[in-house]
Symmetry: C2
Subunit: 425 residues, 2 copies
């Protein structure tokens, strides 16, 4: 039987999950896939983690050289997170001919080209199923199942923390800050929640997913990013009345040869398959020119779900006789703006607070008309001498909306523009 | 660039879709996957199909030898359907070293072992993504993404015709016969609908899917099969009131080392992800010990969705340096009953018509108690001197329910047992 040595960099949540699966499922993997995966070294300084997992302390160290010098180690799985030392260690492993498996979207989305270039030199492989949407096989689907399609759109709920927060806000009518605090208490959100709630995590994943979908590197600086911290429960409630559910979406589209990539909160019709994705579940919706709509759904995080993706990559890598690399030629860190559309188009939801006097709707409508934005519907709710007005706007561009909002703010009967939320059909 | 010759056996719906994709997307596939797929021969006797697609008539014939003798043809995709001549032709191709790609679940589920044995002799590959759930990459997910899991359950809506019929019955309150006729008129159901409505199509697919999920051949004779033709709109309506949606499910489970495989109509909770799968869409829900719940969703049929799966397999096959075979050792046509549990357990919905007299519920309950079946809830609806009674039964075995039903039929205040429907949570 083929025996393959594996090293683990880090024994955190996902590293620990991977350790558990490789240990518990070792015999099944031998029987079903004909490969014996042996953990030969672990980099971890926190020995309490080693002890908690019952790992052999003799194979634990803090020195990457212990891995580099062992010719039996063919695959190195990384769980450090962050850029360094993860990237440098993985480059060294690749140059030494060891394939790598990573869950590190932050590093991978920015240094894919560097890792791939080292991999080619070392004739090793680069695997990253676990970097996006945990155990859901979205990377493998994009690389091994969509070959007969030009993908037009990939749209996903790829961050569990924000989906948990938005679901809770919608279901229990709570404000963002309240739910965030609860999520932090339950361990669903980090003490510093920026990476999740401001959309960075989704942006890293979208960079990887849309690069694969469109066979073109989509670097993070080409991605529009907006988080959920300004979302009010009021907008979620209004949206519900219009038949919409609010989600933080990662969206990649290719239209007329141009790619647009963006992460932001968006209303989707409440009967859209993504609207039913609740709590910390994730899902990715893909539209191909031939396959039509498909959706993949599951747990986007957690020790065992993400560990499942890591182990899948380890088995997959260990059975390749020749590693494949990214299907796009420009896998470099220098990608020009050509080919990207940053002034994308959407429908919009706009909520304003205005003075309750005749003519205010006319004034606002005139400003919208000036920027060629047409109105789908208007809803007004009077409270004292003020009114909340919601405009649902037909498809228009970001730049037009921005200009219109500036012009509307100048109308003297308008107190404030409280929310602008994009609508995806 | 690697050039790979392809032959198509048949130009029906899926064959035609495959032809279209291979022609339209040929340059994209070259660019993105580095392989030039050239259609070198087509077996088709109906020249009107050839003409409609604009295919070159010079490469069309009715003689398999034209394919067998062309060394440039490396991959043969089959769209004949049915057992013969599909199977014999494919065996000949495999022995000649040509890999095969098929959408033919009826043939493949029953002759997998024979094809695989020929494939090993010819050092060729056997690919069948298109045999189950059209363009949804469920086969690739099972073979390439679940390696770190013991799958506990696979449960799917894998037949579009029956899902269309049941969705229509539920949404519009129509009877089975009415919807079936409409579906036949619209081309969603065949003139002879048996393969779909009696669950044969789902059974073939379940045989393939559960064999992969459990790494054990699950032949069709180990699968319990029941169709939807006895479903009444009344039961769909009652189910709705209890919070259930009725679907034709293909279910494979592994519990205590025993496999159960069954195709039948079942109630699932209306908030189950599968309950939202409407019309002709398909979905498969997989539960792994590590990944937890995942679901794949999309179009299960149609020329381009299924063609997408065929082309994916052709590209995948053409890039393998060594073909893999099924991950189970007993891929044979002789599989013993050991390892299978045919007396599976479920919750049940039971509807009866009884005489509206005191004591009838007591008599029925006593019969259920005799077979150790406990009752979850009872609902009664009186109409004249008759009453409709619905029993929701706790988890029990098929054999107990069957015996109980026989005993209940003997109760003189019971007119009829009108429906027994399994309930899956």
């Amino acid at each position: 039987m083929k025996k393959v040595g594996v090293a683990l960099l880090g024994l955190g949540t996902v590293g620990g999950g991977t350790y558990k699966i490789l240990t518990k499922n070792r015999d099944d993997i031998k029987k079903n896939y004909g490969v014996d995966l042996e953990i030969r070294h672990i980099l971890e300084k926190d020995m309490s983690k080693v002890k908690a997992l019952g790992a052999n302390p003799d194979i634990v160290s803090c020195d990457i050289n212990n891995i580099l010098k062992d010719p039996e180690i063919k695959i190195v799985a990384e769980f450090f997170g962050g850029i360094e030392p993860a990237k440098s260690f993985l480059v060294q492993c690749l140059l030494a001919g060891k394939s790598i498996v990573t869950a590190n979207k932050e590093m991978f989305s920015q240094y894919w080209h560097e890792l791939e270039s080292a991999a080619k030199k070392g004739k090793a492989g680069v695997y990253f199923e676990a970097s996006c949407v945990g155990g859901v096989p979205v990377i493998r689907t994009l690389t091994e199942s969509m070959q007969g399609n030009n993908i037009k759109c990939i749209m996903g709920i790829v961050n569990g923390t924000t989906n948990y927060i938005l679901s809770k806000m919608a279901d229990e009518g709570l404000e963002y800050e309240t739910v965030l605090k609860e999520a932090q208490k339950l361990g669903y959100a980090e003490a510093n929640p920026t990476a999740d709630v401001d959309g960075y995590d989704s942006m890293y994943k979208l960079s990887i997913l849309s690069s694969l979908a469109f066979h073109t590197k989509v670097p993070i600086d080409k991605i529009y990013r907006e988080g959920i911290s300004n979302i009010s429960k009021l907008d979620i409630e209004y949206g519900k009345k219009f038949g919409y559910t609010l989600k933080l979406l990662a969206i990649g589209k290719k239209e007329n040869g141009k790619i647009e990539a963006r992460v932001h909160p968006a209303f989707i019709p409440s009967d859209h398959p993504l609207a039913a994705v609740k709590e910390s579940f994730n899902a990715v919706h893909i539209v191909g020119d031939n396959v039509g709509d498909i959706m993949l759904y599951g747990r986007g995080a957690g020790d065992l779900p993400t560990g499942s993706a890591i182990v899948s990559d380890i088995v997959f890598a260990s059975l390749q006789s020749k590693h494949k690399y990214s299907s796009f030629k420009n896998n470099t860190d220098k990608v020009s703006d050509r080919g990207f559309n940053k002034d994308f188009q959407c429908e919009y939801y706009m909520r304003l607070t205005v003075k309750d006097v005749p003519g205010v709707i006319a004034s606002i409508s005139a400003k919208l008309a000036k920027f060629k934005i047409s109105i789908n519907s208007i809803q007004q709710k009077v409270e004292g001498d003020k009114a909340s007005v919601i405009f649902m706007l037909h498809r228009t561009s970001e730049s037009s909306v921005k200009k219109a909002v500036e012009a509307i703010k100048e109308v003297d009967t308008v107190y404030s523009v409280d929310a602008i939320i994009r609508v995806e059909e």
